[in-house]
C-alpha cells in the first residue's frame, strides 16, 4: 500500500539541468516545492582525475535508474528495436554534473525555421515529411531567461551582439543580447590559438565558445583549474556550473524546497476532471503518493514521454496529455554523427583543459549563409576543443595506422609519435522532426519493475545527410588550414537516430493542441496543472547544445506557474 504524504504546492520530477533550474524561481516565490530525484547527492571526493575509474563506469555512484531502464532503438517501423545504453546519469544535478558544459543560446532563426525558410527560399524548401513548425515564442521573448540562467549559474563567454552592436570577439551571428556574459571566456590554449589563426586565414569568424564553467571565481565557487577529466565526469572544485552547485542549493536556502533523493517516480495521478493530483514514487522499496497542486515533469526527453505514456487514466486512456496522440511525436536526436578527425605533424599539447574550452565557427550554421543554390536548409556549428586522456589518446591513434598490427614495436613507435597529434570534431547540425520519427513504449522490453521501456523509431533523412557532407568539408578545410597532414571523415550520417544526450521532442511546445503537447508556457494543452520541462518541448535543435535553451525555458515555465498560480491550480 502506498503511503500518502502531505500535499505540497509543486512536485518537480527530476532535478537535472531543467528541474534543477525550475526549483529556484518557484522557491523564491514562496511556494512549497518537492523535488523528486532518482539519483543521490554526489561527493567531490569521488571526482578524481582517473580515466580507468570513469571507463569502468564506477562513477557516478548512487542508484542509476538509467542503467535499469535502457532504451530500444530502430531506424523505422520495419525493424525490431534493439536495446542500447541510456546516455544520461542520475544524481542531484542530473547530467549537468557530467556534461561538457557548452552553454549556448539558440539563434533567432531556430525559433522560426519554417516561416523563415518559406520567406527566403519558398515553401518547396521545407524538407519532405518534416513536421517542423515555428516555435510559439521568439528568441527575443526567451532572451531575458537566457540572461537569467547565464547570470545565475555562471556562464563564461564573449558577447558578439549586445543590443544589435556587433563585437568581433564574440559570435557575430548570435541574436541580440541585453548585456555581456557574467564571466569572460575560458582561456585559450596553444591548440585553440592555432585554430583561431587557421580560421582567420580562411576568412571565417572564430570565437571562444560559451561554457557553463567559471573562468574566474563566481558566487563562491572557484575558477576552472583546466585539469582535464571534465567530460563524463564531475568537477572536484565545482567550477562546472551544474545545477547541483548553483540553483538547487540556492533554492534550498531561498524557501520551502525539499529534495527527496533516490525516489523513482512510476506514474502521475489524474483526477476525473483531467487535472493531475500528484505523483507515485518508490523509495527504498516503499511506495509513496505525493499529492500536489501542480506537477512539473523534468525527467529527460525519453522519460518525459515514457512517464506520460505510462500514466493512463479515465481522462487520458492513451496516456497523460495524449488525447491528441502527440506524446512521443516530433522526436529527433541531434545530428552529431559523421565526426571529422585530423592528424597533425606536430604535438598539440591537448592533455589538459576541458571540452568546453573550445573554438567555434558559426559561418556555416543555421541560416547564416545563403542556401539559394543549395539543396538543404540549416547547417552546422564547427567546434574544436582541448582535453585528451592517455588511454583515449591511444585508442584515437588507431584510426591513423592504416592496417598493420595494433601491438608490438611498430605500433608502439606510432603511438609514441602520434598520441598527442590527433583531434576529432563532433559537428552539431540542424536536425528536423519528421512524421515517421517518434517515441513510444516498447511492446516487449520492460524494466525490472515490469514497466515497458521507451522505444526510439527514428532515422536521419536527406536534409541531415546533406548537411553532414557539407559541414564535414568545412571542418576538413579548417583542419588543413591549421596544418593537418591528414583528415578523416566525410560527414556520412548513419541511418538510425541513436539514443542521445541531445534528444528533442516527444512533448513539443506549440500553440496548436492538434500538433503539440504543451502550450507556449510549457503547460499541457490537456491537463492544465501539468508542466513539462526539458528538450522534449523543443521543436528545433539548432546547431548547438540544447542545455541552456531548455534551462531558459524551464525558468520561464516555473516563473509562469508562480505568477499565474491561482489561474493554473484553481
Amino acid at each position: 500500500m502506498a503511503t500518502t504524504l502531505k500535499k505540497t504546492n509543486v512536485v518537480i520530477i527530476g532535478l537535472g539541468a531543467a528541474g534543477g533550474v525550475a526549483c529556484l524561481p518557484l522557491a523564491q516565490s514562496g511556494l512549497e516545492v518537492i523535488g523528486l530525484e532518482a539519483g543521490s547527492w554526489l561527493d567531490t571526493k569521488d571526482m578524481a582525475p582517473d580515466e580507468l575509474k570513469l571507463n569502468r563506469g564506477l562513477w557516478p555512484p548512487g542508484p542509476q535508474k538509467t542503467k535499469l531502464e535502457g532504451i530500444t532503438v530502430r531506424a523505422n517501423d520495419s525493424q525490431t528495436a534493439t536495446r542500447v545504453n541510456h546516455p544520461m546519469m542520475n544524481a542531484v544535478g542530473g547530467t549537468s554534473v557530467h556534461y561538457w558544459a557548452q552553454s549556448w543560446r539558440l539563434n533567432p532563426w531556430d525559433f522560426k525555421v519554417r516561416s523563415e525558410t518559406i520567406r527566403r527560399y519558398g515553401p518547396s524548401r521545407i524538407p519532405k515529411g518534416s513536421t517542423i513548425e515555428d516555435w510559439p515564442l521568439t528568441y527575443e521573448e526567451l532572451e531575458p531567461y537566457y540572461d537569467k540562467v547565464e547570470y545565475e549559474i555562471g556562464v563564461s563567454g564573449k558577447a558578439g551582439n549586445i543590443a544589435g552592436k556587433k563585437d568581433e570577439r564574440g559570435n557575430i551571428f548570435e541574436g541580440a543580447r541585453k548585456r555581456e556574459y557574467p564571466l569572460s571566456p575560458l582561456r585559450t590554449s596553444g591548440y585553440m590559438e592555432k585554430m583561431i589563426a587557421a580560421a582567420k586565414s580562411l576568412g571565417w569568424h572564430s570565437f571562444v565558445a560559451p561554457a557553463a564553467i567559471t573562468s574566474r571565481p563566481y558566487n563562491g565557487r572557484p575558477g576552472c583549474a583546466y585539469h582535464g577529466y571534465c567530460s563524463g565526469a564531475g568537477c572536484h572544485i565545482s567550477a562546472k556550473s551544474s545545477t547541483a552547485v548553483t540553483t538547487i542549493p540556492k533554492a534550498m536556502k531561498a524557501g520551502k524546497f525539499t529534495v527527496v533523493t533516490e525516489a523513482r517516480v512510476t506514474t502521475i495521478e489524474v483526477e476525473n476532471n483531467g487535472r493531475v493530483s500528484g505523483v507515485n514514487y518508490l523509495k527504498a522499496g516503499q511506495e509513496y503518493f505525493q499529492p500536489a497542486d501542480a506537477v512539473l515533469v523534468a525527467s529527460y526527453a525519453y522519460e518525459n514521454a515514457r512517464l506520460l505514456l505510462l500514466s493512463k487514466s479515465k481522462a487520458y486512456p492513451n496516456g497523460l496529455s495524449n488525447n491528441h496522440h502527440q506524446v512521443g511525436k516530433h522526436y529527433f536526436s541531434h545530428n552529431q554523427g559523421g565526426a571529422v578527425s585530423a592528424l597533425f605533424p606536430f604535438n598539440l599539447n591537448n592533455w589538459y583543459g576541458t571540452p568546453a574550452q573550445g573554438i567555434a565557427i558559426d559561418n556555416w550554421a543555421d541560416d547564416n549563409f545563403d542556401h539559394s543554390g543549395l539543396d538543404f536548409i540549416g547547417g552546422g556549428n564547427l567546434y574544436t576543443y582541448t582535453e585528451r586522456r592517455p588511454m583515449a589518446a591511444i585508442n584515437g591513434v588507431q584510426a591513423w595506422m592504416q592496417g598493420g598490427p595494433n601491438w608490438g614495436s611498430k605500433w608502439k613507435a606510432f603511438v609514441k609519435e602520434n598520441a598527442d597529434r590527433w583531434n576529432v570534431a563532433y559537428l552539431q547540425k540542424t536536425t528536423l522532426p519528421y512524421e515517421d520519427n517518434y517515441l513510444d513504449l516498447d511492446p516487449v522490453v520492460k524494466d525490472p519493475l515490469g514497466f515497458p521501456v521507451i522505444r526510439i523509431t527514428a532515422e536521419y533523412k536527406d536534409n541531415e545527410r546533406k548537411i553532414g557532407t557539407f559541414i564535414a568539408e568545412k571542418m576538413r578545410q579548417w583542419y588543413m588550414a591549421a596544418g593537418a597532414s591528414r583528415v578523416n571523415g566525410d560527414g556520412n550520417v548513419a541511418g538510425s537516430m541513436f539514443a542521445s544526450t541531445h534528444a528533442y521532442g516527444g512533448t513539443r511546445m506549440g500553440d496548436n493542441p492538434e500538433t503539440n503537447v504543451v502550450d507556449r508556457w510549457g503547460f499541457s494543452h490537456e491537463a492544465p496543472n501539468l508542466g513539462i520541462l526539458g528538450g522534449s518541448v523543443m521543436g528545433t535543435s539548432g546547431a548547438r547544445n540544447p542545455t541552456q535553451t531548455l534551462q531558459a525555458l524551464a525558468w520561464r515555465t516555473a516563473e509562469h506557474l508562480a505568477q499565474n498560480w491561482k489561474n493554473i491550480v484553481k
Binding site: D43, T44, K45, D46, M47, A48, P49, D50, E51, L52, K53, N55, R56, L58, R187, S189, G190, Y191, E193, K194, A225, Y226, H227, G228, H236, I237, F346, N347, L348, N349, W351, Y352, G353, T386, R388, P390, M391, A393, I394, P405, N406, W407, G408, S409, K412, A413, V415, K416, A419, D420
Partner: protein
Amino acid sequence: MNNDCLTRRQMLQRLGGIIGLAAVLPLPARSLARAQGLSAVANAPVSLTSAEAETLRAIIARIIPADENGPGALEARADRYIDRALAGALKNQRSTYAAGLAAIDAYAQSAKGSVFAKLSTSDQDLILTEIQSDRATGFAGGGSGQFFNLVRTHTIQGTFSDPFYGGNENFIGWDLIGYPGARVVVSPNLQRMDIKPESSRKSAYDYSMFIKGEF
C-alpha cells in the same frame, strides 16, 4: 596537496599486505618507487598462479615491448595491474584468463614445441599473430582473437592507467606518450604548444582530496 612521501601505513595499505621489494632495490630505484607510492612488489601474484603469471608477462612483453622507444608493458608492470584487477574490478574474468592462458601455452606447445614464455620473441610474435587473427585452436567461447583483445585491452590499461592501480610503474606509460601526469591545477603555460609540459609525476591519488577506489 603534495604528498610525495607516503607514510609507511599508507604504503602498506597500497601493497595490500605484500612484502615490498623496495628494500633490496638500488637506492635511486627505491626512492623513485617511494615517490610513486607504489613501491615494488614481490613477484608473487595475488590472483594468478605463478605459471599463469609467467605466461602473461611474456605476452604483455610482446604487446608493448621494451625497445628503442623505451621500456614496455612488462617494465610498467601491466602484469601486476592485471593480477590485482583479477582479484578486484575484473574478478569475473579470472576464469577467462585461466582458460585463455592455458590455451595459449597449449597452442604454443603444439605449434612450436614449448610453452609460450620459453619461445624466442620472433616465435612468440608469430603465435600471437595467429591468436589475434583467430587462427589458433583450443580457445573456448569467442575464439583466440577475443582473448587476445581482452589481454591487449588490459595491457593498455596496465601501462597507461593511473599508477594507483599497480601498473604504469615509474610513469613509464605516461612518459611514452608524453602525458604530463595527473594535476589538479593546470597553469596556462602547461597548455601552450611551444613547450613540452613537465610531468607532474603524480597519480590522481597523490592528491589527498580524492577517495581511492578498488584495484
